[in-house]
Protein backbone atom coordinates (compact mmCIF):
# COMPACT_ATOMS: atom_id res chain seq x y z
CA UNK A 1 0.00 0.00 0.00
CA UNK A 2 1.21 3.50 -0.72
CA UNK A 3 -0.60 6.83 -0.62
CA UNK A 4 -0.10 10.51 0.10
CA UNK A 5 -2.47 12.69 2.08
CA UNK A 6 -2.59 16.03 3.89
CA UNK A 7 -1.56 15.62 7.53
CA UNK A 8 -4.66 17.31 9.00
CA UNK A 9 -7.02 15.21 6.87
CA UNK A 10 -5.33 12.03 8.02
CA UNK A 11 -5.31 13.16 11.67
CA UNK A 12 -9.07 13.80 11.50
CA UNK A 13 -9.69 10.39 9.92
CA UNK A 14 -7.48 8.50 12.35
CA UNK A 15 -8.92 10.21 15.41
CA UNK A 16 -12.53 9.70 14.26
CA UNK A 17 -12.08 5.99 13.45
CA UNK A 18 -9.89 5.61 16.54
CA UNK A 19 -12.75 6.52 18.84
CA UNK A 20 -14.27 3.09 18.22
CA UNK A 21 -11.00 1.27 18.75
CA UNK A 22 -10.88 -0.98 21.75
CA UNK A 23 -8.49 0.53 24.28
CA UNK A 24 -6.91 -2.79 25.21
CA UNK A 25 -7.73 -4.92 22.19
CA UNK A 26 -9.51 -7.31 24.57
CA UNK A 27 -9.63 -10.87 23.34
CA UNK A 28 -8.62 -9.74 19.84
CA UNK A 29 -5.42 -7.66 19.89
CA UNK A 30 -6.03 -6.77 16.22
CA UNK A 31 -8.89 -4.54 17.40
CA UNK A 32 -6.32 -2.19 18.93
CA UNK A 33 -5.56 -1.23 15.34
CA UNK A 34 -7.18 0.79 12.59
CA UNK A 35 -7.81 -1.04 9.35
CA UNK A 36 -6.81 0.94 6.25
CA UNK A 37 -8.07 -0.14 2.85
CA UNK A 38 -6.78 1.77 -0.17
CA UNK A 39 -8.50 1.42 -3.54
CA UNK A 40 -7.42 3.97 -6.08
CA UNK A 41 -7.69 7.37 -4.41
CA UNK A 42 -10.21 6.15 -1.85
CA UNK A 43 -8.89 5.34 1.61
CA UNK A 44 -11.20 3.75 4.16
CA UNK A 45 -10.16 3.86 7.83
CA UNK A 46 -12.05 1.59 10.22
CA UNK A 47 -11.90 1.25 13.98
CA UNK A 48 -14.06 -1.17 15.90
CA UNK A 49 -14.51 -2.85 19.25
CA UNK A 50 -17.23 -5.06 17.71
CA UNK A 51 -19.92 -3.12 19.60
CA UNK A 52 -19.26 0.13 17.77
CA UNK A 53 -17.60 0.48 14.37
CA UNK A 54 -16.56 3.79 12.84
CA UNK A 55 -15.45 3.96 9.21
CA UNK A 56 -14.14 7.12 7.59
CA UNK A 57 -13.67 7.61 3.87
CA UNK A 58 -10.91 9.93 2.72
CA UNK A 59 -9.78 11.01 -0.71
CA UNK A 60 -6.02 10.66 -0.99
CA UNK A 61 -3.40 10.48 -3.70
CA UNK A 62 -3.29 6.68 -4.02
CA UNK A 63 -0.34 4.90 -5.55
CA UNK A 64 -0.54 1.19 -4.65
CA UNK A 65 -3.75 -0.41 -3.37
CA UNK A 66 -3.63 -2.52 -0.25
CA UNK A 67 -5.02 -3.36 3.16
CA UNK A 68 -3.21 -3.02 6.47
CA UNK A 69 -3.98 -2.78 10.19
CA UNK A 70 -1.94 -0.12 11.92
CA UNK A 71 -1.70 0.45 15.72
CA UNK A 72 -4.31 3.14 16.29
CA UNK A 73 -2.94 5.30 19.10
CA UNK A 74 0.65 5.25 17.91
CA UNK A 75 -0.23 5.99 14.28
CA UNK A 76 -2.35 8.96 15.36
CA UNK A 77 0.36 10.29 17.67
CA UNK A 78 2.95 10.01 14.91
CA UNK A 79 0.88 11.67 12.19
CA UNK A 80 -0.25 14.42 14.58
CA UNK A 81 3.36 15.16 15.49
CA UNK A 82 4.53 15.55 11.88
CA UNK A 83 5.13 18.92 10.25
CA UNK A 84 2.03 20.32 8.49
CA UNK A 85 1.76 19.30 4.86
CA UNK A 86 1.76 16.04 2.94
CA UNK A 87 2.20 12.71 4.70
CA UNK A 88 3.12 9.52 2.87
CA UNK A 89 2.36 6.04 4.14
CA UNK A 90 3.83 3.07 2.38
CA UNK A 91 4.22 -0.48 3.54
CA UNK A 92 6.83 -3.11 3.08
CA UNK A 93 6.32 -6.56 4.57
CA UNK A 94 5.11 -6.19 8.13
CA UNK A 95 6.07 -2.54 8.50
CA UNK A 96 4.54 0.77 7.52
CA UNK A 97 6.74 3.76 6.79
CA UNK A 98 5.19 7.12 7.68
CA UNK A 99 6.95 10.07 6.14
CA UNK A 100 6.24 13.77 6.56
CA UNK A 101 8.65 16.66 6.03
CA UNK A 102 12.06 15.36 7.02
CA UNK A 103 10.68 12.84 9.54
CA UNK A 104 10.33 9.17 8.90
CA UNK A 105 8.81 6.54 11.16
CA UNK A 106 8.73 2.80 10.72
CA UNK A 107 5.86 1.07 12.47
CA UNK A 108 5.16 -2.65 12.96
CA UNK A 109 1.79 -3.61 11.54
CA UNK A 110 -0.83 -5.97 12.96
CA UNK A 111 -1.63 -8.90 10.60
CA UNK A 112 -4.59 -7.65 8.52
CA UNK A 113 -5.97 -11.18 8.02
CA UNK A 114 -6.77 -11.29 11.75
CA UNK A 115 -9.18 -8.35 11.43
CA UNK A 116 -12.68 -9.72 12.02
CA UNK A 117 -15.23 -9.46 9.22
CA UNK A 118 -17.57 -6.56 9.99
CA UNK A 119 -21.26 -6.78 9.27
CA UNK A 120 -22.35 -4.51 6.43
CA UNK A 121 -25.17 -2.13 7.34
CA UNK A 122 -28.62 -3.39 6.56
CA UNK A 123 -32.12 -1.95 6.55
CA UNK A 124 -34.00 0.74 4.73
CA UNK A 125 -32.11 4.00 4.46
CA UNK A 126 -33.74 7.25 5.60
CA UNK A 127 -32.26 10.71 5.47
CA UNK A 128 -33.12 13.32 8.11
CA UNK A 129 -31.98 16.82 9.01
CA UNK A 130 -28.94 16.92 11.28
CA UNK A 131 -29.61 19.99 13.42
CA UNK A 132 -32.72 18.90 15.28
CA UNK A 133 -31.53 15.31 15.73
CA UNK A 134 -28.19 16.55 17.08
CA UNK A 135 -30.04 18.86 19.48
CA UNK A 136 -32.18 15.94 20.65
CA UNK A 137 -29.11 13.80 21.27
CA UNK A 138 -27.47 16.62 23.24
CA UNK A 139 -30.55 16.72 25.46
CA UNK A 140 -31.08 13.02 26.15
CA UNK A 141 -27.73 11.23 25.89
CA UNK A 142 -26.32 12.61 29.20
CA UNK A 143 -29.24 11.09 31.12
CA UNK A 144 -28.42 7.57 29.93
CA UNK A 145 -26.68 5.32 32.41
CA UNK A 146 -22.98 4.54 32.19
CA UNK A 147 -23.35 1.55 34.49
CA UNK A 148 -22.79 -1.60 32.43
CA UNK A 149 -24.50 -3.70 35.08
CA UNK A 150 -27.84 -2.42 33.72
CA UNK A 151 -27.20 -2.52 29.97
CA UNK A 152 -30.76 -1.56 29.00
CA UNK A 153 -30.28 1.81 30.68
CA UNK A 154 -27.05 2.51 28.78
CA UNK A 155 -29.12 2.98 25.64
CA UNK A 156 -31.32 5.71 24.24
CA UNK A 157 -34.78 4.61 23.15
CA UNK A 158 -35.77 5.76 19.65
CA UNK A 159 -39.51 5.27 19.29
CA UNK A 160 -42.18 6.47 16.95
CA UNK A 161 -44.44 9.02 18.61
CA UNK A 162 -47.38 10.14 16.50
CA UNK A 163 -45.84 10.89 13.14
CA UNK A 164 -42.52 11.92 14.66
CA UNK A 165 -39.61 10.47 16.60
CA UNK A 166 -39.17 10.33 20.38
CA UNK A 167 -35.81 10.00 22.13
CA UNK A 168 -35.84 8.72 25.72
CA UNK A 169 -33.07 7.94 28.18
CA UNK A 170 -32.85 7.25 31.89
CA UNK A 171 -30.30 6.12 34.43
CA UNK A 172 -33.10 5.51 36.97
CA UNK A 173 -32.29 8.77 38.81
CA UNK A 174 -33.53 10.99 35.98
CA UNK A 175 -35.41 10.63 32.72
CA UNK A 176 -35.03 12.79 29.60
CA UNK A 177 -37.65 12.77 26.84
CA UNK A 178 -37.36 14.70 23.57
CA UNK A 179 -39.92 14.69 20.78
CA UNK A 180 -38.92 15.48 17.21
CA UNK A 181 -42.38 15.95 15.66
CA UNK A 182 -41.24 16.41 12.08
CA UNK A 183 -38.79 13.51 12.03
CA UNK A 184 -40.30 10.33 10.72
CA UNK A 185 -37.81 7.45 10.63
CA UNK A 186 -39.62 4.59 12.34
CA UNK A 187 -42.64 2.56 11.40
CA UNK A 188 -45.79 2.55 13.52
CA UNK A 189 -44.98 0.88 16.85
CA UNK A 190 -41.29 0.47 16.00
CA UNK A 191 -38.71 1.22 18.67
CA UNK A 192 -35.01 0.52 19.00
CA UNK A 193 -32.50 0.91 21.79
CA UNK A 194 -29.23 2.44 20.62
CA UNK A 195 -26.15 2.48 22.89
CA UNK A 196 -25.61 6.02 24.18
CA UNK A 197 -21.89 5.70 23.53
CA UNK A 198 -22.60 5.33 19.81
CA UNK A 199 -24.98 8.30 19.88
CA UNK A 200 -22.32 10.42 21.58
CA UNK A 201 -20.12 9.76 18.57
CA UNK A 202 -23.04 10.43 16.21
CA UNK A 203 -23.61 13.80 17.91
CA UNK A 204 -19.92 14.62 17.54
CA UNK A 205 -19.96 13.74 13.83
CA UNK A 206 -23.12 15.82 13.33
CA UNK A 207 -21.47 19.06 14.47
CA UNK A 208 -20.62 20.14 10.95
CA UNK A 209 -23.18 18.10 8.98
CA UNK A 210 -26.48 19.17 7.48
CA UNK A 211 -28.11 15.75 7.29
CA UNK A 212 -27.63 12.15 8.24
CA UNK A 213 -28.77 8.87 6.75
CA UNK A 214 -30.00 6.23 9.13
CA UNK A 215 -30.13 2.50 8.37
CA UNK A 216 -31.90 0.32 10.90
CA UNK A 217 -31.26 -3.41 10.74
CA UNK A 218 -32.73 -6.01 13.04
CA UNK A 219 -29.76 -6.03 15.38
CA UNK A 220 -27.74 -3.03 14.31
CA UNK A 221 -28.05 0.58 13.30
CA UNK A 222 -25.82 2.63 11.03
CA UNK A 223 -25.52 6.38 10.74
CA UNK A 224 -23.95 7.90 7.62
CA UNK A 225 -22.70 11.43 8.10
CA UNK A 226 -20.46 13.21 5.60
CA UNK A 227 -18.19 10.28 4.73
CA UNK A 228 -18.31 8.81 8.24
CA UNK A 229 -20.25 5.62 8.90
CA UNK A 230 -21.02 4.66 12.51
CA UNK A 231 -22.46 1.20 13.01
CA UNK A 232 -23.55 -0.07 16.37
CA UNK A 233 -25.19 -3.13 17.77
CA UNK A 234 -28.63 -2.43 19.15
CA UNK A 235 -29.31 -3.26 22.78
CA UNK A 236 -31.73 -6.13 23.18
CA UNK A 237 -34.37 -6.04 25.89
CA UNK A 238 -37.36 -4.09 27.07
CA UNK A 239 -36.85 -0.43 28.00
CA UNK A 240 -38.59 0.50 31.29
CA UNK A 241 -42.17 1.71 30.97
CA UNK A 242 -41.26 5.39 31.31
CA UNK A 243 -44.70 6.75 30.42
CA UNK A 244 -46.12 5.74 33.78
CA UNK A 245 -43.37 7.70 35.54
CA UNK A 246 -44.31 11.07 34.02
CA UNK A 247 -46.79 12.77 36.33
CA UNK A 248 -49.81 14.33 34.68
CA UNK A 249 -50.34 17.06 37.29
CA UNK A 250 -48.14 18.36 40.09
CA UNK A 251 -49.59 20.57 42.81
CA UNK A 252 -46.49 22.74 43.31
CA UNK A 253 -45.01 24.80 40.50
CA UNK A 254 -41.95 27.02 40.55
CA UNK A 255 -41.13 29.29 37.61
CA UNK A 256 -37.62 30.72 37.46
CA UNK A 257 -35.13 32.20 35.00
CA UNK A 258 -33.03 29.38 33.62
CA UNK A 259 -29.71 31.22 33.38
CA UNK A 260 -30.13 32.76 36.84
CA UNK A 261 -30.77 29.32 38.32
CA UNK A 262 -27.79 27.77 36.49
CA UNK A 263 -25.49 30.54 37.73
CA UNK A 264 -26.74 30.29 41.31
CA UNK A 265 -26.51 26.50 41.28
CA UNK A 266 -22.95 26.68 39.96
CA UNK A 267 -21.98 28.89 42.89
CA UNK A 268 -23.85 27.01 45.61
CA UNK A 269 -22.69 23.64 44.35
CA UNK A 270 -19.15 24.55 45.37
CA UNK A 271 -20.24 23.71 48.90
CA UNK A 272 -22.07 20.53 47.87
CA UNK A 273 -19.06 18.32 48.38
CA UNK A 274 -18.75 14.62 49.09
CA UNK A 275 -21.99 13.82 47.23
CA UNK A 276 -24.13 16.08 49.37
CA UNK A 277 -27.22 17.45 47.63
CA UNK A 278 -28.38 21.01 47.03
CA UNK A 279 -31.66 21.93 48.75
CA UNK A 280 -34.22 24.06 46.96
CA UNK A 281 -36.55 25.85 49.34
CA UNK A 282 -39.60 27.05 47.43
CA UNK A 283 -42.10 29.51 48.82
CA UNK A 284 -44.13 32.57 47.82
CA UNK A 285 -40.99 34.62 48.60
CA UNK A 286 -39.07 32.89 45.84
CA UNK A 287 -36.38 30.26 45.76
CA UNK A 288 -33.47 29.65 48.10
CA UNK A 289 -30.60 27.32 47.27
CA UNK A 290 -28.67 25.82 50.16
CA UNK A 291 -25.69 23.46 50.23
CA UNK A 292 -24.21 22.24 53.50
CA UNK A 293 -21.19 19.99 53.75
CA UNK A 294 -20.38 18.79 57.25
CA UNK A 295 -17.03 20.10 58.54
CA UNK A 296 -16.51 22.15 55.37
CA UNK A 297 -19.10 24.92 55.28
CA UNK A 298 -22.31 26.03 53.65
CA UNK A 299 -23.68 28.23 50.85
CA UNK A 300 -27.01 30.07 50.53
CA UNK A 301 -28.42 32.02 47.62
CA UNK A 302 -31.81 33.69 47.10
CA UNK A 303 -33.42 33.85 43.67
CA UNK A 304 -36.48 35.65 42.38
CA UNK A 305 -39.07 33.12 41.31
CA UNK A 306 -42.81 32.63 41.06
CA UNK A 307 -44.24 29.82 43.15
CA UNK A 308 -47.67 28.27 43.36
CA UNK A 309 -48.22 25.58 46.00
CA UNK A 310 -47.30 24.69 49.57
CA UNK A 311 -43.90 25.71 50.97
CA UNK A 312 -41.48 22.93 50.27
CA UNK A 313 -37.78 22.06 50.52
CA UNK A 314 -36.57 19.43 48.06
CA UNK A 315 -32.97 18.25 47.69
CA UNK A 316 -31.37 17.21 44.41
CA UNK A 317 -28.08 15.87 43.16
CA UNK A 318 -26.64 19.19 41.88
CA UNK A 319 -24.97 17.63 38.85
CA UNK A 320 -28.16 15.97 37.67
CA UNK A 321 -30.12 19.19 38.18
CA UNK A 322 -27.45 21.14 36.31
CA UNK A 323 -27.54 18.63 33.41
CA UNK A 324 -31.28 19.10 33.12
CA UNK A 325 -31.09 22.90 33.22
CA UNK A 326 -28.28 22.94 30.67
CA UNK A 327 -30.32 21.07 28.06
CA UNK A 328 -33.76 22.58 28.72
CA UNK A 329 -34.42 25.24 26.08
CA UNK A 330 -35.76 28.73 26.69
CA UNK A 331 -35.24 31.60 29.12
CA UNK A 332 -37.61 30.36 31.80
CA UNK A 333 -38.15 26.90 33.25
CA UNK A 334 -40.70 25.39 35.57
CA UNK A 335 -39.99 22.86 38.32
CA UNK A 336 -43.10 20.95 39.28
CA UNK A 337 -43.14 18.87 42.47
CA UNK A 338 -45.44 16.82 44.68
CA UNK A 339 -43.38 16.38 47.84
CA UNK A 340 -39.80 15.81 48.99
CA UNK A 341 -39.62 12.20 47.80
CA UNK A 342 -41.50 12.19 44.49
CA UNK A 343 -39.96 13.00 41.10
CA UNK A 344 -39.77 16.64 40.02
CA UNK A 345 -40.60 17.66 36.48
CA UNK A 346 -38.36 20.21 34.78
CA UNK A 347 -39.74 21.86 31.64
CA UNK A 348 -39.29 24.83 29.40
CA UNK A 349 -42.06 27.40 29.33
CA UNK A 350 -41.51 27.82 25.60
CA UNK A 351 -41.84 24.28 24.28
CA UNK A 352 -43.40 20.99 25.25
CA UNK A 353 -40.99 18.95 23.11
CA UNK A 354 -38.60 18.28 25.99
CA UNK A 355 -39.04 17.20 29.60
CA UNK A 356 -36.64 16.13 32.31
CA UNK A 357 -37.80 14.14 35.30
CA UNK A 358 -35.50 14.12 38.31
CA UNK A 359 -35.67 12.13 41.55
CA UNK A 360 -34.91 14.05 44.75
CA UNK A 361 -32.30 12.99 47.29
CA UNK A 362 -33.52 12.01 50.73
CA UNK A 363 -32.24 14.39 53.43
CA UNK A 364 -32.80 14.40 57.16
Amino acid sequence: MRFRCERDVLVDGLSTAGRAVSSRGGAQPVLAGIRMILQGDRLELTGSDLELTISVELTVAGDTDGEIVIPSRLALDIVKALEPGAVTIDTEGEEARITGGRSQFSLHLIPAEEYPPLVAPTGESLTIGAAEFAEGLRQVVPAASTDDSRPILTGVLLAREGTGLRLVSTDSYRLAVRDLPGTSVLAEGQKVLVPSRALTEVARALQSASELTLLLGERDASFLIDGVRLSTRLIEGEFPNYRGLIPQSQPNRLTVGRTALIDALRRVKLMAREATPVRLTMSADGLELVAITQDVGQAHEQLDAQYEGTDLTVAFNPDYLMNGLDVTPGDEVSIETVDTLKPALLRSLETTDFLYLLMPVRVS
Binding site: G26, A27, S149, S172, Y173, L175, L245, M359, V361
Partner: protein, 219 residues
Protein backbone atom coordinates in the same frame (compact mmCIF):
# COMPACT_ATOMS: atom_id res chain seq x y z
CA UNK B 1 9.68 -24.08 34.30
CA UNK B 2 12.66 -24.62 32.01
CA UNK B 3 14.78 -21.60 31.08
CA UNK B 4 17.40 -21.76 28.35
CA UNK B 5 19.62 -18.91 27.26
CA UNK B 6 20.97 -19.62 23.81
CA UNK B 7 22.15 -18.01 20.63
CA UNK B 8 19.50 -19.11 18.22
CA UNK B 9 17.44 -18.29 15.17
CA UNK B 10 13.73 -18.99 14.99
CA UNK B 11 11.37 -19.69 12.12
CA UNK B 12 7.59 -19.79 12.44
CA UNK B 13 5.51 -21.47 9.74
CA UNK B 14 1.75 -21.28 9.95
CA UNK B 15 -0.74 -18.55 9.14
CA UNK B 16 2.28 -16.61 7.94
CA UNK B 17 6.04 -17.04 7.94
CA UNK B 18 8.22 -15.20 10.41
CA UNK B 19 11.97 -15.33 10.90
CA UNK B 20 14.01 -14.21 13.88
CA UNK B 21 17.67 -13.93 12.87
CA UNK B 22 20.45 -15.30 15.05
CA UNK B 23 20.79 -13.60 18.46
CA UNK B 24 21.04 -14.47 22.15
CA UNK B 25 17.56 -15.12 23.53
CA UNK B 26 15.72 -16.61 26.46
CA UNK B 27 13.73 -19.74 25.63
CA UNK B 28 11.01 -20.48 28.13
CA UNK B 29 9.25 -23.84 28.34
CA UNK B 30 6.41 -23.74 30.86
CA UNK B 31 5.02 -26.73 32.72
CA UNK B 32 1.86 -26.69 30.64
CA UNK B 33 3.94 -26.95 27.44
CA UNK B 34 3.84 -23.31 26.29
CA UNK B 35 7.06 -22.28 24.56
CA UNK B 36 8.07 -18.62 24.43
CA UNK B 37 11.11 -16.86 22.95
CA UNK B 38 12.07 -13.61 24.67
CA UNK B 39 14.55 -10.85 23.86
CA UNK B 40 16.24 -8.82 26.58
CA UNK B 41 13.65 -6.07 26.40
CA UNK B 42 9.93 -5.41 26.34
CA UNK B 43 7.63 -5.92 29.28
CA UNK B 44 5.92 -9.24 28.80
CA UNK B 45 5.41 -10.07 25.16
CA UNK B 46 7.60 -12.78 23.67
CA UNK B 47 9.12 -12.32 20.21
CA UNK B 48 7.43 -15.53 19.25
CA UNK B 49 5.58 -18.26 21.10
CA UNK B 50 3.46 -21.35 20.77
CA UNK B 51 0.66 -22.09 23.16
CA UNK B 52 -0.06 -25.52 24.62
CA UNK B 53 -1.09 -28.11 23.62
CA UNK B 54 1.87 -28.74 21.37
CA UNK B 55 4.68 -31.23 20.80
CA UNK B 56 8.30 -30.29 21.46
CA UNK B 57 10.82 -32.43 19.58
CA UNK B 58 14.43 -31.80 20.69
CA UNK B 59 17.16 -32.59 18.17
CA UNK B 60 20.91 -32.00 18.57
CA UNK B 61 20.90 -28.55 17.01
CA UNK B 62 17.24 -27.57 16.98
CA UNK B 63 13.89 -27.73 18.70
CA UNK B 64 10.77 -28.19 16.65
CA UNK B 65 7.50 -27.24 18.33
CA UNK B 66 4.34 -28.34 16.48
CA UNK B 67 0.75 -27.62 17.46
CA UNK B 68 -2.48 -29.37 16.51
CA UNK B 69 -3.03 -27.00 13.56
CA UNK B 70 0.29 -28.08 12.06
CA UNK B 71 1.98 -24.73 12.76
CA UNK B 72 5.66 -25.10 13.60
CA UNK B 73 8.23 -23.13 15.49
CA UNK B 74 11.77 -24.20 14.59
CA UNK B 75 14.45 -22.98 16.98
CA UNK B 76 17.97 -23.54 15.63
CA UNK B 77 20.33 -23.49 18.61
CA UNK B 78 23.82 -22.36 17.67
CA UNK B 79 25.22 -21.96 21.18
CA UNK B 80 23.78 -23.09 24.50
CA UNK B 81 24.77 -20.51 27.11
CA UNK B 82 22.79 -21.52 30.20
CA UNK B 83 20.01 -23.83 31.17
CA UNK B 84 18.02 -24.29 34.34
CA UNK B 85 14.72 -25.86 35.39
CA UNK B 86 12.56 -25.34 38.48
CA UNK B 87 9.42 -26.96 39.81
CA UNK B 88 7.28 -23.92 40.62
CA UNK B 89 4.14 -25.66 41.90
CA UNK B 90 0.60 -24.39 41.49
CA UNK B 91 0.30 -20.66 40.99
CA UNK B 92 -2.19 -19.03 43.36
CA UNK B 93 -3.28 -16.66 40.60
CA UNK B 94 -3.93 -12.97 40.86
CA UNK B 95 -4.99 -11.73 44.25
CA UNK B 96 -8.58 -10.58 44.08
CA UNK B 97 -9.33 -6.94 44.69
CA UNK B 98 -11.49 -5.89 47.62
CA UNK B 99 -14.78 -5.82 45.74
CA UNK B 100 -14.26 -9.23 44.15
CA UNK B 101 -13.31 -10.87 47.44
CA UNK B 102 -16.25 -9.25 49.20
CA UNK B 103 -18.58 -10.29 46.40
CA UNK B 104 -17.45 -13.89 46.85
CA UNK B 105 -18.02 -13.60 50.61
CA UNK B 106 -21.54 -12.20 50.14
CA UNK B 107 -22.48 -14.88 47.61
CA UNK B 108 -21.08 -17.60 49.86
CA UNK B 109 -23.28 -16.29 52.68
CA UNK B 110 -26.38 -16.70 50.51
CA UNK B 111 -25.80 -18.76 47.34
CA UNK B 112 -29.54 -18.59 46.52
CA UNK B 113 -28.85 -15.10 45.20
CA UNK B 114 -27.01 -16.92 42.38
CA UNK B 115 -29.63 -19.62 41.77
CA UNK B 116 -32.58 -20.99 43.70
CA UNK B 117 -31.83 -24.01 45.83
CA UNK B 118 -28.06 -23.62 45.76
CA UNK B 119 -26.26 -24.76 48.95
CA UNK B 120 -22.63 -23.92 49.68
CA UNK B 121 -20.24 -26.86 50.11
CA UNK B 122 -17.10 -24.75 50.56
CA UNK B 123 -15.33 -21.60 49.45
CA UNK B 124 -12.04 -21.76 47.53
CA UNK B 125 -12.50 -25.43 46.66
CA UNK B 126 -9.06 -26.70 45.65
CA UNK B 127 -8.44 -28.30 42.30
CA UNK B 128 -5.00 -29.29 41.05
CA UNK B 129 -4.84 -26.15 38.89
CA UNK B 130 -6.06 -23.69 41.51
CA UNK B 131 -9.06 -23.07 43.74
CA UNK B 132 -12.53 -22.52 42.34
CA UNK B 133 -14.35 -19.71 44.20
CA UNK B 134 -17.40 -21.62 45.41
CA UNK B 135 -18.37 -25.26 45.29
CA UNK B 136 -22.12 -25.68 45.77
CA UNK B 137 -24.79 -28.32 45.29
CA UNK B 138 -28.02 -27.55 43.52
CA UNK B 139 -31.49 -28.73 44.54
CA UNK B 140 -30.92 -31.99 42.66
CA UNK B 141 -27.64 -32.60 44.49
CA UNK B 142 -25.51 -31.88 41.44
CA UNK B 143 -22.14 -30.22 42.04
CA UNK B 144 -21.97 -26.59 40.91
CA UNK B 145 -18.70 -24.70 40.48
CA UNK B 146 -19.09 -20.92 40.77
CA UNK B 147 -16.44 -18.50 39.54
CA UNK B 148 -16.89 -14.92 40.76
CA UNK B 149 -15.48 -11.87 39.01
CA UNK B 150 -16.07 -8.17 39.32
CA UNK B 151 -16.21 -7.86 35.54
CA UNK B 152 -17.01 -10.99 33.56
CA UNK B 153 -14.77 -11.36 30.55
CA UNK B 154 -13.68 -14.21 28.31
CA UNK B 155 -10.66 -14.99 30.52
CA UNK B 156 -12.97 -15.78 33.43
CA UNK B 157 -15.00 -18.22 31.32
CA UNK B 158 -11.79 -19.90 30.19
CA UNK B 159 -10.67 -20.19 33.81
CA UNK B 160 -13.96 -21.75 34.90
CA UNK B 161 -13.84 -24.15 31.92
CA UNK B 162 -10.44 -25.40 33.09
CA UNK B 163 -11.73 -25.94 36.63
CA UNK B 164 -14.79 -27.81 35.37
CA UNK B 165 -12.62 -30.09 33.26
CA UNK B 166 -10.47 -30.96 36.29
CA UNK B 167 -13.40 -31.32 38.68
CA UNK B 168 -15.31 -33.59 36.30
CA UNK B 169 -12.53 -36.16 36.69
CA UNK B 170 -13.48 -36.55 40.38
CA UNK B 171 -16.21 -39.22 40.72
CA UNK B 172 -17.77 -37.26 43.62
CA UNK B 173 -18.20 -34.20 41.43
CA UNK B 174 -18.80 -35.81 38.03
CA UNK B 175 -21.43 -33.96 36.03
CA UNK B 176 -20.42 -30.69 37.71
CA UNK B 177 -21.97 -27.64 36.09
CA UNK B 178 -20.55 -24.14 36.04
CA UNK B 179 -21.98 -20.75 36.88
CA UNK B 180 -20.08 -17.60 36.00
CA UNK B 181 -21.02 -14.71 38.28
CA UNK B 182 -20.05 -11.04 37.92
CA UNK B 183 -21.45 -7.56 38.39
CA UNK B 184 -21.47 -7.27 34.63
CA UNK B 185 -20.65 -9.88 32.00
CA UNK B 186 -19.39 -8.91 28.55
CA UNK B 187 -21.50 -10.14 25.61
CA UNK B 188 -18.55 -12.09 24.19
CA UNK B 189 -18.08 -13.87 27.53
CA UNK B 190 -21.80 -14.74 27.59
CA UNK B 191 -21.58 -16.24 24.11
CA UNK B 192 -18.52 -18.31 25.05
CA UNK B 193 -20.14 -19.43 28.32
CA UNK B 194 -23.35 -20.46 26.53
CA UNK B 195 -21.36 -22.51 24.01
CA UNK B 196 -19.81 -24.38 26.96
CA UNK B 197 -23.12 -24.79 28.80
CA UNK B 198 -21.98 -22.49 31.58
CA UNK B 199 -24.69 -20.29 33.10
CA UNK B 200 -24.05 -16.57 33.52
CA UNK B 201 -25.48 -14.59 36.43
CA UNK B 202 -25.09 -10.84 36.93
CA UNK B 203 -25.40 -9.60 40.49
CA UNK B 204 -25.80 -6.15 42.03
CA UNK B 205 -23.05 -5.56 44.58
CA UNK B 206 -24.91 -2.77 46.38
CA UNK B 207 -28.06 -4.85 46.58
CA UNK B 208 -26.11 -7.76 48.04
CA UNK B 209 -24.66 -5.41 50.63
CA UNK B 210 -28.17 -4.23 51.42
CA UNK B 211 -27.30 -0.59 51.00
CA UNK B 212 -30.23 1.77 50.92
CA UNK B 213 -29.10 4.88 49.13
CA UNK B 214 -30.37 8.34 49.86
CA UNK B 215 -30.44 8.86 46.10
CA UNK B 216 -33.97 7.84 45.27
CA UNK B 217 -34.71 6.06 42.01
CA UNK B 218 -37.52 6.41 39.51
CA UNK B 219 -37.88 2.62 39.29
Amino acid sequence: MRLVIARCSVDYEGRLSAHLPSAVRLLMVKADGCVAIHADGGAYKPLNWMNAPNRLAEHDDRWIVTNSKGETLTIVIEELIAETAHEMGVDPGLRKDGVEAHLQELLAADPTTIADGLILVRREYPTDIGPVDLLCRDAQGRAVAVEVKRRGEIDGVEQLTRYLERMDRDPKLRGVRGIFVAQVIKPQAKVLAASREIDCVEVDYDELRGIESNELRLF
